[in-house]
Symmetry: C2
Subunit: 208 residues, 2 copies
Amino acid sequence: MPKIVDAEARRQEVVQAVFRIIASDGLERASLREVADEAGLAVGSVRHYFASSDDLLVFSFGAVIDRIAGRLESAMTAVEAERQGSSAQQAAVLNLLGQFLPLDEELAVDACVWMAFRHAARIKPVLAAEAERSHRAVAAVVGRLIMLLSPQEAEAQQTLVAEAERLLATMDGLCMHALLQPEWMTAEMCSDVLTAHLRSLAGAPASS
Amino acid sequence: MPKIVDAEARRQEVVQAVFRIIASDGLERASLREVADEAGLAVGSVRHYFASSDDLLVFSFGAVIDRIAGRLESAMTAVEAERQGSSAQQAAVLNLLGQFLPLDEELAVDACVWMAFRHAARIKPVLAAEAERSHRAVAAVVGRLIMLLSPQEAEAQQTLVAEAERLLATMDGLCMHALLQPEWMTAEMCSDVLTAHLRSLAGAPASS
DNA sequence: GGTGTTGAAGCACGTTCGTGCTAAAAAATA
DNA sequence: TATTTTTTAGCACGAACGTGCTTCAACACC
């Protein structure tokens, strides 16, 4: 029939163009014309794969969520595979939490895009569902991590939830600072903050 | 000479209109026309007080920084006025940290506007200087708080800095979650997370 | 009371946006 | 080779944007 083209691959190429534009110029510059230019296509071509601008943005949001959630999941299974309390497990935990931070180019792009979409979802209702999914996916991983790391002594369920939310907030804040104030929040500072937080988790059992 | 009008008061009215628009519709909707409508003025009138759109945004950013920094400063002096370790000081600390969070309508508007400008500053160079000032002002207060709350035992300077950055990141993450996922991050959850963090500061001296 | 400075309002221009729609190009099938 | 269908490209329209510039009303001062 037609010119054979892998539609799914094309969509991913367009999404990659969206990511690059958001990371460098912000979400508000991710218009159809800009995206088409960045992807080396015409506006009509992009609109052939995505019915509307909202469609493109929602799909892109979903794509970055899948990427991040996938990284977190695999890093979490690596943590669970290590012996409890071993230094190898400690390293795996640091690796897991590092997936939140813009420590290399790819992670930085994803972090930019993720932050931009989550903040945009406060205003644009079309993004709300994906924002919910994003929060659930990340909270699930962090919850498992907290259950693993918390002292075995009897812990109130509420305390565990609060500790999970605390770690989640710290990671998001750390990511935010690393993106917005990279001169202050360096990779070393991130590492220091992370180790301090993990020590506070292990050393100060939050017995309610 | 002319029609007497308190120019500074007028500017503040326009800035308030900017705040309302950003809080409800996002920063990208804070155009001259929208702001003029919200303030009950004409575009030309707004431009009489602000030379350009960028001028208006930079001034508004500065205004929200001053408001937040002012609240933090007064709350910090209240903390320093209480007896060290007293429960009154504990309450004053909770009050100080609560100034970061959208716990009432006014705080919520400021938090929205503050977040929006800080993220926009990553892209728009005109906002960069104010973003720097914002970071310095808040970091200074949090630094003083950490020095006050840390156990008196000999602490490495680096550890204190890391603890300050950790508290700052946690507060920003908490604020972000309270704004973006208010159903999950309720006021009670904020309180639980804050008390857990303060306990980890006092109970687990981060001796390097 | 005239006069000149200033607040307020609005027009006009060029740019960018999303989107409906049409037309050409390209490749697999008849 | 002719046809059919997907892919690509492009035009046109209305809306919204920032901004330069002009116009009008109002009030303090001579």
